[in-house]
C-alpha cells in the first residue's frame, strides 16, 4: 500500500475528519493517521454537543456564526447522516446577581460582534423552558444556538471522507515529523513512514509533542473533564443549556437521554490511570448542580459517565494556522473545549489552507506565533 498522499492529517477527530472530507471533495488525495484504534476517540466523542455562538471569545465568534448560518443547517444532507442538529437556542442561566453580571458582560461583547443574543428574566426563561427551577433569575438567550450529535458528526465526516477515497490508518502513533529539503514532508510513526506535500496536525493536546519535533511549541495544557448521560426520558426541551457558573451544560438528545457535562472544581489537578478514568466525586457534583436548575430530573437515571481531555490554549482560543517557518505544516489544535461547534468551518478553512487558497474567513487571530510574554 502506498504511503504517500498530497495531504496527511494527523488525528481523526472531528476537525481532522472534516478537513479530510472537504479536501477529498476537491479531489485531493488524503491520508489520515490516528493513534487510537477507533476514529475520533478523543474530545470529538466525549463533548457535550453544543453548537453555540453565545459565550464565545469575540475572536472565535465569526467562525461560529459562519458555521451556524451556512454549514450546520445543511450538514445532515451533505453527510447523508442525521447529525441531530437542532437550532433551538441556548439558555445560559444565572441564579445570582453576580451570575447576571457575568452573563451581561458576555452578552454585550457578543452583541457588539453582531450576534442576536440578549438578556431575559426568570419568567421569560421559564416560558422558554418550563422545567427550570425558580432559583433561575435570568439568562442570556441566543435563539440561533443549538446542539448536534458529536459522535454522528465525527463518524459522518469519516464515513463520507472514506467513501471519497480518503485512507484512514488507525493505531498509527506519530513519533515525529521530518523536514525534507526545507519542507515538512515525512511522518514517522511507530510502524511506518509516510510522506505528504502538506501535513495538518489536528491531534488535540498531543499536537504539542508532534509539533515540537519540528521545533514549534503551542502554549497549551490538558485537563481531564467529565460528562454523563441519562436513560431516555420523555421529550422535555430542545434548548442547549449552560450556566454562568459553568457548573453544568448539556441538552436532551433525539434519543431522549440527557447529556450533561460539568465540573467538580478539581479538574486542573485531576489524575488519570492512563485510561481517561473518571473520578468518584465529579458525577455526583454534576448531578447536584443539575438538580438545582432542573428539579424534575432528580429521578432520571444516570447510565454512563466518562472523561475526556480538553486541550486548553493559554489565551482561550485555538491555533488554526499555517507555519511559515516550517513550510507544509498546518496546525489545528488547542480548541479549548469549543472545537465541536466550529468543526465544519475549521475543516473547510483547513482544506483551503492546505490547497494554498486564500481563506474565506480571516484567521489571523489564530496564528501559532501570537503568544507574547506578559511584560
Amino acid at each position: 500500500m502506498c504511503n504517500t498522499a498530497e495531504v496527511i492529517i494527523v488525528g481523526s477527530g472531528v476537525i481532522g475528519c472534516a478537513a479530510a472530507y472537504y479536501l477529498a471533495k476537491q479531489g485531493v488525495s488524503v491520508l489520515v493517521l490516528e493513534r487510537d484504534q477507533s476514529i475520533g476517540n478523543g474530545g470529538s466523542s466525549r463533548n457535550g454537543g453544543g453548537v453555540r455562538q453565545s459565550g464565545r471569545d469575540p475572536r472565535e465568534l465569526p467562525l461560529a456564526m459562519y458555521a451556524v448560518e451556512h454549514m450546520w443547517p445543511k450538514l445532515s444532507e451533505e453527510l447523508e447522516i442525521d447529525v441531530e442538529y437542532h437550532k433551538q437556542g441556548n439558555l445560559r442561566l444565572g441564579k445570582t446577581e453576580r451570575h447576571m453580571e457575568i452573563l451581561q458582560g458576555l452578552t454585550e461583547r457578543a452583541a457588539a460582534c453582531g450576534l442576536d443574543v440578549h438578556m431575559i428574566d426568570g419568567a421569560e426563561v421559564r416560558k422558554i423552558n418550563p422545567y427550570l427551577s425558580d432559583e433561575v433569575i435570568g439568562a442570556s438567550w441566543c435563539a440561533t444556538d443549538g446542539h448536534a450529535n458529536p459522535l454522528l458528526t465525527t463518524l459522518g465526516y469519516y464515513r463520507k471522507a472514506r467513501a471519497l477515497g480518503v485512507r484512514f490508518c488507525t493505531e498509527e502513533e506519530v513519533v515525529a515529523i521530518q523536514k525534507i529539503r526545507g519542507k515538512a514532508r515525512r511522518i514517522i510513526t511507530a510502524k511506518a513512514v509516510y510522506e505528504g506535500e502538506t501535513i495538518i496536525v489536528a491531534a488535540g493536546y498531543e499536537s504539542r509533542a508532534i509539533a515540537s519535533t519540528v521545533g514549534i511549541d503551542i502554549p497549551m495544557r490538558k485537563e481531564l473533564i467529565e460528562a454523563l448521560v441519562t436513560e431516555a426520558e420523555p421529550k422535555m426541551f430542545a434548548q442547549m443549556l449552560g450556566t454562568a457558573d459553568a457548573d453544568f451544560y448539556g441538552h436532551q438528545t433525539d434519543h431522549g437521554s440527557f447529556v450533561f457535562g460539568g465540573a467538580s472544581g478539581m479538574e486542573s489537578v485531576n489524575k488519570d490511570n492512563g485510561n481517561m478514568a473518571v473520578s468518584s466525586i465529579t458525577a455526583p457534583c454534576i448531578c447536584r448542580g443539575i438538580m438545582k436548575y432542573i428539579p424534575k430530573l432528580a429521578d432520571a437515571k444516570i447510565v454512563r459517565t466518562w472523561a475526556g481531555y480538553e486541550d486548553l490554549c493559554i489565551d482561550g482560543v485555538p491555533v488554526i494556522s499555517s507555519v511559515e517557518e516550517v513550510p507544509g505544516l498546518i496546525l489545528a489544535c488547542a480548541f479549548t473545549g469549543h472545537g465541536f461547534g466550529i468543526s465544519p468551518v475549521v475543516g473547510k478553512l483547513l482544506s483551503q489552507m492546505a490547497l494554498g487558497e486564500e481563506t474565506f474567513l480571516d484567521i489571523r487571530e489564530f496564528r501559532y506565533d501570537r503568544f507574547q510574554a506578559a511584560i
Binding site: A277, V278, S279, S280
Partner: protein
C-alpha cells in the same frame, strides 16, 4: 474515608470463601452484594454438589451458601446486601449504592467476585415475552417460588441447561424438549439421565428456528442443523410451549475490573473478557484480586477454592501472614482445585469427544445424543452388576470428580479408590443391607437398589425421588425406563424419607422381574 483491609464485591461462593479466609487471619472484611439475598448462584442451586468432602460434595448449593454465610458472620465479616458497587476508582476506592445514597469506601485490598452473566443466542422472535434466560427461570422458581412457565422448551444441554430442566420438572413445570445445536450433550451424563428418565426428549444437533406468538410465546419451531450449524430443510419440529429457556453458556462479568484499569484479555477458554492474574488471583493492579467465574467460568466448587486462595493471598499482601503460610495453603488448595479439574469434563477436554473412559470402557453414545444409556450399553459399566439379594446398581458411566457414594455405604460395598474420577465398582465380598444411603448420597441420582428375587416373578427397584406429591405406599402406577417410556406396571412398596437423605426420598417399586434392569422412574397413572 472509611477503609477496610479487604472489600469483597459479590457474596457468592468465591466472595464469601475469600472473606472467611481473610477474616480468619485477622483482616477487617466487608462484602457488598447487589442482591437481596446472599450466596450468588448458590441460592438457586438446589441440587447436591459433586466432588469429595473437601469440595462440600453431596451438600445442596443453597445449603453451602447458608454455611458459608454463617461462617463468615461468625468471623465478623460484614455482609451488606442490596448494595450495588457502581464503580471502582483509582486508589482502590469503591462507590456503593445502598438505598437512596452512594457511599465511598476504600480497601487496602479488593476482591472482585462478581461472577458471570448468561450468554444469549438470537433467533426469530427471541425478544418475545416468554423467552428467558435459564438463570431467570432459576431465580423465579427457586428464589421467588413462581413457575416461570407451564410448558417449557430448554435450549442448551450443558450442566446449566440440564440442571435447570430438572429443577423445572421438580417445581411442576412440563419440559417439552431439551435442544442443543451441538451434536452431543455438553453437561454431565448423570444430569442428562435424570431429565431423560422423566420423559423429556433430547434433540441434539437441533436449534431453534423461531419463537412463535404475536404478544408472547405460544410455540416454538426447532430444526436439525448440519455440521456447519445450518438448518436442514424439512427437519422442522413444532412444540406448543409458553416459555423458551436459554442456557447457552456464561461470560465473566468483568466490567468493574476494566473500569479500574486492570489488564484484560479475551480468553475463549475462560469464557470471554477476563483480567490477567497470577496464580493467587491478583490482577495487574497490586492488591486487586479476582476469584470465581469473573476470572474464568467454571463451577461453584472451584469458585470456592479460588476464593479461599485469593483471601489468603490478600492476608499475605497486607502483612497479616507470612509468605510461608500462603505458599503452604496455596499448595493444599491447588491440589483440591486440581481434583476438581480432572476427568472427562476437565477444562482441557471442553468440546472434545471422549470415546472411552479412563478404565477403557466405551462411552455411551446414546447418553451423549439422547440423554440416557441404552439397554445394550448399560451392562458395560462396573457399577452395574447382578447378584442375589438386594444390591446397588450404579449407572455412573463418565469419569467425573465425585466420590460421596464410597463414603456413604456403611458396609463398604462401593469403591472408587484414591482416584476421584474413577467409576464406582461394587465390592462383591461386602454385603449390601439395602439401607439406601448410597442412593440418597449420589449427587447424580445414578444409584438404584435392585432386588431381582423379591418374590416369584417380581423384583424391586429403589429409586431416588425428589418430586411432590410423594407417592403413597401401596399406590399403583407405572415404571418408566431410562428414556422415560412407560414399560410396566409398578406398585410402591416403600417410601423412605430421612434427614440424612436430605430431601432425596427413596421410592421402592415392585416391577416384573424382567423390568428390574429397565425401570428407573415411577409415575402414578394419570
Amino acid at each position: 474515608m472509611k477503609r477496610y483491609d479487604l472489600i469483597v464485591v459479590g457474596a457468592g461462593p468465591s466472595g464469601l470463601s475469600a472473606a472467611i479466609e481473610g477474616a480468619k487471619r485477622g483482616l477487617q472484611v466487608v462484602v457488598f452484594d447487589e442482591n437481596e439475598k446472599p450466596g450468588g448462584q448458590l441460592f438457586k442451586q438446589i441440587h447436591k454438589f459433586f466432588g469429595s468432602k473437601e469440595h462440600k460434595a453431596k451438600i445442596r448449593g443453597f445449603v453451602i451458601g447458608e454455611q458459608l454465610l454463617k461462617e463468615a458472620s461468625e468471623l465478623g465479616v460484614k455482609v451488606v446486601l442490596n448494595a450495588t458497587v457502581t464503580g471502582l476508582y483509582m486508589d482502590k476506592e469503591l462507590v456503593v449504592k445502598i438505598a437512596d445514597t452512594i457511599y465511598h469506601y476504600k480497601g487496602d485490598a479488593i476482591l472482585i467476585a462478581t461472577g458471570a452473566a448468561e450468554n444469549m443466542v438470537t433467533f426469530e422472535g427471541w425478544t418475545l415475552p416468554g423467552v428467558i434466560g435459564a438463570g431467570a427461570a432459576q431465580t423465579m422458581m427457586n428464589l421467588h417460588g413462581v413457575k416461570p412457565g407451564n410448558r417449557i422448551l430448554m435450549l442448551g444441554s450443558g450442566n446449566v441447561g440440564l440442571v435447570v430442566s430438572f429443577q423445572l420438572l421438580q417445581c411442576g413445570c412440563e419440559v417439552a424438549a431439551l435442544v442443543d445445536a451441538a451434536p452431543r450433550v455438553g453437561g454431565y451424563g448423570i444430569h442428562a439421565a435424570k431429565v431423560a428418565r422423566c420423559g423429556v426428549p433430547f434433540y441434539l444437533s437441533h436449534t431453534i428456528v423461531k419463537a412463535e406468538g404475536e404478544e408472547c410465546v405460544t410455540g416454538v419451531t426447532i430444526a436439525e442443523v448440519d455440521k456447519k450449524f445450518q438448518f436442514i430443510p424439512g427437519t422442522e419440529k413444532h412444540f406448543d410451549v409458553d416459555t423458551i429457556c436459554l442456557a447457552v453458556g456464561l461470560s465473566p462479568m468483568s466490567q468493574l475490573l476494566k473500569i479500574a484499569g486492570c489488564e484484560m484479555e479475551d480468553n475463549p477458554k475462560r469464557g470471554g473478557q477476563v483480567p490477567i492474574c497470577n496464580e493467587y488471583g491478583e490482577t495487574s493492579i497490586k492488591g486487586i484480586f479476582v476469584a470465581g467465574d469473573v476470572s474464568g467460568v467454571e463451577e461453584a466448587s472451584s469458585a470456592m477454592i479460588e476464593g479461599r486462595i485469593a483471601g489468603i493471598a490478600a492476608a499475605q499482601y497486607l502483612g497479616y501472614i507470612g509468605i510461608e503460610e500462603l505458599e503452604e495453603k496455596f499448595e493444599e488448595n491447588k491440589a483440591a482445585l486440581e481434583g476438581l479439574r480432572q476427568g472427562m469434563f476437565a477444562p482441557e477436554n471442553r468440546g472434545k469427544l471422549i470415546e472411552r473412559t479412563e478404565e477403557g470402557i466405551p462411552v455411551s453414545m446414546n447418553l451423549l445424543t439422547k440423554g440416557y444409556i441404552a439397554e445394550d450399553e448399560i451392562e458395560r459399566y462396573p457399577g452395574v452388576t447382578h447378584r442375589a439379594g438386594i444390591h446397588p446398581v450404579m449407572e455412573c458411566s463418565q469419569n467425573i470428580p465425585c466420590n460421596p457414594c464410597q463414603d456413604a455405604c456403611p458396609r463398604h460395598c462401593i469403591q472408587i479408590g484414591s482416584h476421584i474420577t474413577s467409576l464406582p465398582v461394587v465390592d462383591e465380598s461386602a454385603q449390601c443391607v439395602g439401607c439406601g444411603l448410597c442412593v440418597a448420597a449420589c449427587s447424580g441420582q445414578a444409584i438404584f437398589l435392585v432386588q431381582e428375587d423379591y418374590e416369584p416373578g417380581y423384583g424391586t427397584v429403589t429409586i431416588p425421588y425428589e418430586f411432590l406429591p410423594l407417592p403413597q405406599k401401596g399406590e399403583k402406577g407405572y415404571g418408566l425406563d431410562r428414556s422415560g417410556q412407560r414399560v410396566c406396571e409398578a406398585q410402591v412398596m416403600e417410601v423412605k424419607t430421612a434427614k440424612t437423605f436430605d430431601h432425596t426420598n427413596l421410592l421402592t417399586i415392585r416391577v416384573p422381574v424382567d423390568m428390574v434392569g429397565k425401570a428407573r422412574f415411577y409415575r402414578k397413572s394419570c
